[in-house]
């Protein structure tokens, strides 16, 4: 599975066709009920309710949910109060269905908005069923809530999701307008911009790019716009992200854009990231982010090789340490071997050599490799670092190695160091070993 797959894997799989058919059937039945109120606006009908009201309307294709805690739309799956990236078993429960909006109403004003997809389970409180409404009416009403000054910012922000999920409407212009409106709460603006990008309607790229580049707007909004660019379908925002990085008018924004480029599989994103690493004109901050994201590409041996090849040419130890981290985390056996080489290299700084050892220790290199390396090293600081690496490993052979050093190393400082870390181990053999040291 590629990074794009992870970002964009759809939520609706199991029983999609069947579920959608059932849902449409249910809609057909429910369409009978609201005709008596055809002339009455939805807003008035909601305002007349005391307590909870519910409306339903058709959802976009690719929308599914479990009727309660989860909603999925194309790349995006949400569970209540948080968003998750993966799906796992959730997909099995994700069924197409109408958008179901539960509105809490007090004194004619909406105080809470909850959105569900599909039929709900048992209701814990009485609900006034306002039946099925047309998507256009629903969207008009919900956008009214999102724009309105009469409701709290949470209600306004929560009204955006069901509006975005409504079928057969073009909503992104209205959402972009909301996102641009600096009079609206930040959460409303951010939510509107996200869903403007997510619904996949044309014409969104330029407004999102404009917000990202607008130095008069708030930093959090601009950062969010960069994120939204990264989420546009078919890597549509990648050129804009590259422009932001290249222009580097605001280094903090360029750094964010670099990060999001790293999440893309687009070839031009990869190419740009590598250029950022090698281009001497690029700031250390942006270069560091490029090194970081390339290092996180665990399934890309070319990126790993690229980082190793350019290690010596990097202008600072800080950047080199980022390479060490990426190689240690994602470089596999080849990376571990390279890290050992760095650690052994007398010509390198002690700091870099120690970092190489540390990150080698975070990978899957067998403990025996570190034991052999310990014997080959002659620098006490590096040997101490190997001892530390051994102390962080859970396998019993690492404890064996520490006990061996503590028992018989010729350098008593190293023996003490090994003992210190042995003390932190939760292994019943350690106390017996330490006691035996004290008896002789």
């Amino acid at each position: 599975m590629t990074r794009s797959d992870l970002r964009r894997s759809g939520g609706c799989r199991a029983g999609e066709q069947v579920g959608r058919g059932l849902a449409l059937g249910a809609l057909g039945l429910l369409l009978v009920t609201p005709l008596a109120h055809a002339q009455e606006t939805l807003a008035r009908r909601v305002a007349a309710v005391a307590g909870d009201a519910e409306v339903r309307f058709a959802s976009r294709p690719d929308v599914c949910g479990d009727g309660a805690q989860m909603i999925s739309f194309r790349s995006f799956t949400m569970v209540r109060e948080m968003t998750i990236a993966g799906h796992g078993d959730w997909r099995e429960r994700c069924m197409p269905g109408p958008v179901r909006v539960r509105l809490s109403v007090a004194d004619g004003a909406v105080t809470r908005v909850h959105t569900y997809i599909g039929a709900g389970g048992g209701r814990s409180s009485p609900v006034t069923d306002l039946g099925v409404v047309g998507t256009r009416d629903a969207v008009e009403y919900l956008l009214g809530l999102a724009r309105g000054g009469s409701v709290g910012s949470r209600v306004a922000a929560d009204a955006i999701l069901p509006a975005a999920l409504a079928d057969s409407t073009t909503i992104s212009p209205a959402l972009v307008a909301l996102a641009r409106d600096r009079g609206r709460p930040m959460e409303v603006r951010k939510r509107a911009l996200f869903w403007a990008g997510e619904v996949g309607e044309p014409g969104v790229l330029e407004p999102v790019r404009a917000i990202a580049r607008d130095s008069t707007d708030e930093r959090t909004m601009r950062e969010h716009a960069v994120f939204v660019l990264s989420q546009l379908r078919d890597d549509g925002g990648v050129p804009a992200l590259i422009d932001i990085v290249r222009a580097n008018r605001d280094p903090w924004l360029a750094k964010k854009a670099t990060f999001w480029l790293g999440q893309s599989d687009a070839p031009q994103a990869h190419e740009t990231l590598r250029t950022l690493v090698t281009d001497p004109a690029v700031s250390e901050e942006v270069k560091g982010e490029a090194v970081f994201v390339l290092g996180q590409h665990e399934d890309d041996t070319e990126d790993q090789a690229f980082l190793r090849d350019h290690f010596d040419a990097l202008p600072s130890d800080r950047l080199r340490e980022r390479v060490l981290m990426g190689v240690g985390q994602n470089g596999g056996a080849e990376g571990a071997s390279w890290l050992f080489g760095v650690a052994r290299d007398d010509a390198r700084s002690l700091r870099v050599r120690k970092q190489a050892l540390f990150w080698a220790g975070q990978g899957d290199t067998p403990t025996s490799g570190f034991v052999d390396l310990y014997r080959q090293l002659h620098d006490r600081e590096l040997q101490k670092q190997v001892i530390f690496v051994l102390s962080q490993r859970a396998d019993s052979s690492a404890t064996d190695a520490l006990m061996d050093i503590a028992r018989s190393d010729g350098d008593h400082e190293l023996r003490k160091q090994a003992m210190f870390w042995l003390g932190q181990k939760d292994d019943p053999r350690v106390a017996k070993f330490l006691a035996s040291i004290l008896e002789h």
Binding site: A406, H412, R415, K416, M419, F420, L422, G423, Q424, D426, P428, V430, A431, K432, L434, A435, I437, L438, E439
Partner: protein
């Protein structure tokens, strides 16, 4: 386990007795009303101080008021033998704050000076305060009682150290001083006699580190091993170190060990 019960029983009996003996001083403190009272009493051999934040014993300052160190610039504050001086702030009949000094005097007009009191009476009073006082009051009261001359505070400290509902600082202070008393007993020296526990060879350093490493082990492994060292190791310095770390453990088995080692001794 039985010995713990006995120890606690003895401790409680002694505590009750000492509370009764301490009453006259408690009454004098109480009669002084709300405000600050000061008293002095004889200190153990080897105790010194500068009348302010520093208290030393056996060549080591073990308590130092950090805020006062800058008063001396590059000079080390003088540590001279002298009486223990306790300054207590009383509010509503209870001790609200308590500080222990060696030497010096607070001649402020608002301090009611109770003058010199007997070390035994002072220790009884302070141990009673420790049993009832919160946080730092208990810790300081124990310090004052331990510094008192010709007093055996250990039986009264055992139940304090083992009392899980006592304030943590008080409990830890009691366990610390019990561990020091036990170390003095196993090393056949006075509580504040100069010691030579510092490791002076690489081998000693490694062994000292092994003791520390044992102290970091899960209790069920580390505490029994440390107890074995404290009971049977031939090196007094290692035994002393093991006792120190046992004192830091707060483990009931350590308190039981201290009781067994100290017995009726007063190092």
């Amino acid at each position: 386990m039985r010995s713990v019960v006995i120890v606690v029983g003895i401790g409680a009996a002694l505590a009750a007795a000492s509370a009764a003996r301490g009453q006259p001083l408690a009454r004098r403190v109480s009669a002084a009303g709300d405000g600050t009272v000061q008293m002095r009493f004889a200190s153990r051999d080897g105790v010194c101080g500068n009348g302010r934040g520093t208290i030393g014993t056996g060549g080591h300052a073990f308590f130092r008021d950090v805020s006062s160190s800058s008063d001396y610039g590059h000079w080390r504050p003088a540590c001279v033998p002298g009486p223990v001086r306790v300054v207590a702030v009383v509010r509503g009949g209870g001790v609200d704050r308590l500080r222990v000094f060696v030497g010096g005097n607070d001649s402020s007009a608002d301090v009611r000076d109770l003058g010199v009191v007997s070390a035994r009476e002072a220790a009884d009073y302070l141990l009673d305060v420790a049993r009832r006082g919160a946080g730092r009051v208990g810790e300081q009261a124990i310090l004052g009682a331990v510094l008192a001359d010709s007093v055996t505070p250990w039986p009264a400290l055992l139940p304090v150290a083992g009392n899980a509902s006592a304030p943590r600082a008080t409990r830890e202070s009691a366990a610390f001083w019990l561990s020091r008393a036990a170390a003095a007993v196993v090393n056949h020296r006075a509580l504040f006699e100069e010691d030579d526990d510092a490791p002076d060879s690489p081998r000693d350093e490694v062994r000292a580190q092994a003791i520390f490493a044992l102290s970091q082990q899960p209790r069920d492994e580390g505490v029994p091993a440390l107890i074995r060292v404290a009971r049977t190791n031939r090196d007094p310095a290692l035994r002393s170190r093991a006792l120190f770390w046992l004192g830091q453990s707060g483990d009931p088995r350590a308190i039981e060990l201290f009781a067994g080692i100290i017995g009726g001794a007063n190092p």
